[in-house]
Amino acid sequence: MPQRISRDEVAHVARLAKLRLTDDELDTFTEQLAAILDHAQDIEALAIDDVEPTAHPFPLRNVFRPDLVGPTLDREEVLLQAPAVEDGRFRVPPILGEEP
């Protein structure tokens, strides 16, 4: 049976999640993730052609709130939670040419 997920793919996912994994950990997680994907394969094997795709477990649609302004948090209290603050703003490490 072909491998469900390659070691390289696991390394890629780890990189996206900003995780630094050792070689041993990569091996372990490749095995574990493959097992999870195997389980997904079991579900794929079920005959579900006549089942509608489900976006949400509750049979709800169109849940809205009205466009009315509510209370906001106190800025001092919010900024107290931050490791570093400057000029009323959160101070974060430099961003290395990586912008969404």
């Binding site: 649609r61 703003r89 430099p94 969404p100």
Partner: protein, 501 residues
Amino acid sequence: MSDLGLATSTVAPSFVITSERTGRVWELVIGLEVHCELATATKLFCACPNRFGDEPNTNVCPVCLGLPGSLPVLNERAVELAMRIGRALHCKVRPSVFARKNYFYPDMPKDYQISQYDQPTNVDGYLELPSGARVGIVRAHIEEDTGKNTHAGQGGRIHGADYSLVDYNRAGVPLVEIVSAPDLHSPDDAKAYVSELRAILVAIGASDAKMEEGSLRVDANVSVRPAGSDELGTRCEIKNLNSIRSLGRAIEYEARRQVEVIESGERVRQETRHWDEEAGRTRSGRSKEEAEDYRYFQEPDLVPLEPSAGWISAIDENLPLLPAERRARLAERAGVEPTHSSVAIAVERGLDALAIGAIDAGGDASRVLTHVEHNLAVGGAEDLDPALLAELVTMELEGKLTATQAKTVLAAMVDSGRHPAEIARERGFEAMDTGELEALVDEIIGANPTEWDDFVNGDEKRRGKLSGFFTGQIMKATKGKADGKAVNAILNKRRAQALGQ
């Protein structure tokens, strides 16, 4: 929504780059992604105010700060406005679900942005440019805006910044991202598309669409290909375009850069590039492939959005006339083509209703359009009484006012709302009668024999110059009361006589 029978066509590539080195001819393929902030009172998923320019981090709550245990609830007004955008762009509104776009970046404290992915609200529309050409709209989906980073050190640029400061007032503000098909082929087309889109967004009240405040943001996907080819080249996405002018400049720069890269035997790398307005160039950002691995999945904290047919038709009924329809309406009344430049300008300035009113009140259509195009680029012009504009135009046509005098009277009408005849009388604007004017022209001719000889016998260029000289002399003698057209006619008549024709 009626289409008023406007012409259908796709934009034809008319702009090409000819390589100086090889003589090869290249054409551009451009697709635009426009983000517009919706004009709601609150954010997309929480009740924080959606307001530009407030003190940093004052419009925040547990939801938009991504605090544990908080849950998003969708703003109904934002959905309404998003659907208005979709319908104004002739899109289908369809059932949709929200998705999480995962990435690590400090502008989103949740570490994901809630967006729509494979099931957006609006799909398959088009936008019609003032030229009549149609640009496809692939989708217009709802998403939340991110916080604002300020890069400290190194002149505020991302590259080489020492650290960044984050303000979350903008995090969670409702956005619609409008994605065009790659139907645009020149910097001017791209600029016309954004101008038209902005006019539509403002007309339907969906956004204030100010590029300078960031409530309208444009990213351009640009690629080049040999002229006549159907293939798509590798594209680059240009960001940081702060005005329509920089959009045009950036596209042209980027296209020339890509031609240069390809012709030097290298390949264009698919990437994001930032426009540097001062340097007038684009700079490489991150490589696109890896960054696009956003691991989208359906947002479990929100239920599907399924606007009813009734809601959609109510939106259609409440849409105002759109710029394209207003151009068609004015063109029809004025008896000109909808692509006539003065028609587009009238609609852009919101003066089409005034022009139509003046034409309906008996004003000459071509004079009315001329005034709207050249003499009414001022605030308050839209409050002008159309009947009075019609009267001004009629006075002009009857020879009671010269074009220059009419312009002066019009300016006074905008300022005071008063009657043109009254203003003309006050200023002593009474056109000279023809006999009087002819006598004066003869006098000036007699006083300048050398110039006159030159005018009679000179080539066309010389004649044009001297006609300006004589008109100037006559205007000076009459303090601007003479009608320039009438003066020209007399000068040409006298010249024909002098040549014995």
